[in-house]
């Protein structure tokens, strides 16, 4: 340790950097600050503008996914039925092409808070590999829709394999901070494909079960099975529809399995089945009689529950 500091040492130790150095340092600091402040300000403006739009949009569309081999027109008759007593719900159809591009027909009218949107796929073939691809295409369609209409919650309806696409989408693609699914209805969805024996779990079922913890916890879920005879709806075995409980039961807020029998309970007829139309109006729609033109022209439709047996 140096003990006796000479006056020169003292001044050397206490010397401050030259004035030019200090001013240059402060200037460089200020310039760097401006360089980061401007994009930060820009970014924040964008975030706040976006937050305002989302907060003030009360739109909650009903989004349909058709099953395999069906196009974006699959739900035309169902939607005609749903809109038969009102003209209020606008109708938009999307097709996602194999190159991720999107074409649309129809549109959403201004001020419509509950439009119907159908997402179809150019490649609508069956099989797990295709369903996986379709789930990804669906996520692209959802981003597209969210960007265009700025909604933060929606209701989902999937027919047949459309229900599988929904399940894969919810497990793997949905960003829950960004988008909320309130309700989900799958109609004749073969969770275990065409397998009748529940003990034989197909690859897709075991994959969906593996990822079930990433399902949103707050969904209200209805799974509808059609039964022409005691075992299936002509195509999908009722056991395969029931297998959905291994994915959804105790994972989401509410899981209800409904068995529909009687006329129009053949697999392909399910979307036109009067029972099911009733369930959709009762459970899925917030404003079943929404009428853009004002005035309520129709009576509230009550589903006829004569020939259905439902268990919860």
């Amino acid at each position: 340790m140096a003990k006796n500091l000479s006056p020169q040492d003292r001044t050397r130790l206490l010397k401050r950097p030259s004035r030019i150095k200090r001013i240059a340092g402060v200037l460089v600091g200020l310039i760097l600050l401006v360089i980061i402040s401007i994009p930060a300000y820009d970014y924040q403006k964008g975030v706040v503008a976006n937050a305002r739009v989302i907060h003030n949009s009360r739109m909650a569309p009903v989004i349909f996914i058709p099953g395999s081999s069906a196009t974006q027109n699959r739900f035309d008759s169902l939607i005609k039925e749903l809109n038969s007593r009102s003209t209020g719900h606008s109708y938009l159809k999307l097709t996602v092409h194999t190159d991720d591009s999107i074409t649309t027909t129809g549109g959403v009218k201004a001020g419509d808070n509950e439009p119907f949107i159908v997402v179809g796929f150019e490649n609508n073939k069956d099989g797990y590999a295709n369903i996986k691809k379709q789930a990804r295409w669906f996520s692209i369609a959802m981003k597209f829709l969210q960007n265009r209409y700025r909604f933060n919650n929606f209701v989902g309806i999937g027919h047949s394999n459309g229900g599988l696409i929904y399940t894969l989408y919810l497990e793997e693609y949905l960003n829950q901070d960004d988008l909320t699914i309130n309700k989900l209805m799958t109609i004749g969805t073969p969770y275990n494909l065409s397998e009748k024996n529940i003990a034989n779990r197909t690859e897709i079922l075991s994959d969906m079960i593996k990822l079930k913890s990433s399902l949103p916890k707050n969904i209200q879920m209805w799974s509808i099975a059609g039964t022409e005879n005691y075992s299936d709806d002509g195509i999908v075995p009722v056991e395969s529809v029931e297998a959905g409980k291994y994915v959804y039961q105790d994972q989401v807020r509410q899981y209800t399995l409904i068995n529909v029998t009687g006329s129009d309970s053949q697999h392909s007829d399910l979307p036109q089945n009067q029972e099911i139309v009733g369930y959709i109006q009762q459970y899925m729609l917030t404003n079943p009689n929404q009428n853009r033109l004002g005035g309520n022209r129709g009576n509230p439709t009550q589903p006829s529950s004569s020939s259905s047996s439902s268990k919860k």
């Binding site: 340790m1 003990k3 500091l5 206490l14 401050r16 930060a40 300000y41 970014y43 924040q44 975030v47």
Partner: protein, 475 residues
């Protein structure tokens, strides 16, 4: 050169220095913090870079849209975060080891054995023995309130207890263990043999205490300690006096090496009902004029009282770089600048240090209160709107007000004023620190090395015989 107040403070401080430099515990603490510094610098840098540049909601990640043009960003961030876990988030254990080691040396015990047994004891105390040893996740128990060096007090406490217990046991053992009569009988094994009894006692006591802690269901010794000093939820009312008192309490805990209830990275202050009501009104009306809650923890403490982390550390770092004449302080200041801009204050806590350092404890407690007063007044009188919109938790503290009000210039001005007020609080203490350093160099103040030599017969880290220009450090 000095004002009367500064003169009085300087006299008090120099007196305190002459006293504490003779205390074994203080000497061991200074050495511990010094040896911890490289790990803290590396870990803190990694944390700051990964959380601000490579992780979602990070400041640079967001403003430069890094996720879009660097798809691997989040993976890089995760790797860096893992590395920071084993450097800075390990400082509780490292602190126990180093503190026991230096203390053992001052007591002329075998420092290697004592240091290691203290570290083992610290690990045992962090483990929930009832949950089964296979379920141990030491890492998760270390990240309480942001992890880092914020709970180093626990390590020091375990180090102290282990050293004293070891010392006591070694003394007892010396009565029935025969010391070698001559140096010919002593081998390398002798000291190991003599350590068996004290080591087993220390470990057994640690296991017993750990079992008791497991019964409480808390997250190890650190969790229990934090739980026992935690404030009840109802204490956090959003009145300015409460905000000031809780900030003060939080910072008192910080300077002894414990994490308090507040931190720029905890969501406690952001996620209050008041904040979300403010946000709803702001989004609905599109204006910040008629918000229901102007003064909350979020609008006052987060925005004006914690720039650069608790204690307005950013103001200290800038003040050190501008005013300190000590080369070491300035170098630490430059290292700390980037992490502190991103609100990580660990380097400053260990490097200057703030922990257990009487000169910086006072302004660390005072500066946030002064800055919060500067920020609170215009808020109270309605000259400046409160912060409502979500901002980044990394990123320069003095921009939070500007960004969180969606670009209100009065808010920016207020936060610059609050920052300058914090800086002014630190200035006199840095000048006194310079004076103490100069007096040590001239020999007016006894150096710590001299005191160490008196206590243990040797300096813990031998001084260079001459002011060497280039010589490899032997430690």
């Amino acid at each position: 050169m000095f004002s009367p107040l500064e003169n009085w403070l300087a006299a008090r401080y120099l007196h305190i220095q002459t006293v504490i430099r003779k205390k074994k515990v203080y000497i061991a603490v200074t050495h511990t913090l010094g040896s911890l510094l490289p790990f803290v610098i590396i870990g803190s840098m990694l944390q700051a870079v990964s959380r601000s540049i490579f992780m979602q909601n990070g400041f640079f990640y967001s403003i430069y849209h890094i996720g879009e043009w660097l798809p691997a960003a989040r993976s890089i961030g995760q790797v860096m975060n893992a590395l920071s876990d084993i450097t800075i988030n390990f400082s509780l254990f490292l602190g126990a080891f180093l503190f026991a080691k230096y203390l053992a040396r001052l007591y002329n015990l075998n420092d290697g054995i004592v240091g290691w047994v203290a570290m083992l004891a610290a690990m045992i105390l962090q483990v929930n023995l009832l949950a089964g040893v296979s379920r141990i996740n030491i890492g998760s128990s270390l990240t309480n309130n942001g992890g880092g060096v914020h709970n180093i007090f626990v390590g020091l406490l375990v180090g102290l207890a282990a050293t004293q217990a070891y010392r006591g046991c070694a003394w007892i053992a010396s009565h029935w263990q025969h010391a070698p009569a001559t140096w010919q009988e002593e081998t390398f094994v002798t000291r190991g043999l003599h350590a068996v009894f004290p080591v087993s006692v220390v470990l057994a006591v640690a296991v017993g205490l750990s079992l008791l802690i497991s019964l409480t269901g808390q997250n190890g010794f650190a969790g229990l300690l934090l739980y026992s000093i935690a404030l009840p939820r109802w204490a956090f009312s959003h009145a300015i006096v409460t905000i000031m008192l809780i900030t003060l309490w939080n910072n008192v805990l910080n300077v002894v090496g414990l994490s308090g209830p507040l931190s720029p990275f905890s969501q406690l202050t952001v996620d209050s009902t008041q904040s979300s009501k403010n946000l709803t009104v702001a989004l609905k009306t599109g204006s910040l004029n008629n918000l229901p809650y102007r003064v909350t923890f979020h609008t006052v403490y987060d925005v004006y009282g914690a720039m650069g982390g608790n204690g307005m550390t950013l103001a200290l770092v800038v003040a050190i770089i501008l005013l300190s004449r000590q080369p070491d302080r300035r170098k630490v200041g430059w290292w700390a600048l980037f992490p502190t801009l991103m609100n990580f204050n660990d380097i400053a806590l260990v490097g200057f240090p703030i922990l257990f350092n009487p000169i910086y404890i006072v302004p660390y407690l005072l500066a946030p209160l002064v800055s919060m007063t500067v920020g609170w007044m215009p808020l109270h009188f309605g000259w400046v709107p409160p912060v409502v919109y979500n901002t980044f938790n990394t990123g320069p503290g003095f921009l939070t007000a500007f960004l969180g009000t969606n670009g209100n210039w009065a808010a920016l001005l207020t936060s610059v004023l609050a920052f300058l007020a914090g800086l002014l609080v630190y200035v006199p203490f840095i000048r006194i620190d310079n004076l103490a350093w100069l007096q040590t160099l001239t020999g007016e103040l006894p150096t710590q090395q001299q005191e160490e030599a008196k206590l243990s017969g040797e300096e813990l880290i031998p001084a260079r015989p001459h002011p060497a220009i280039k010589k490899t450090e032997s430690y």
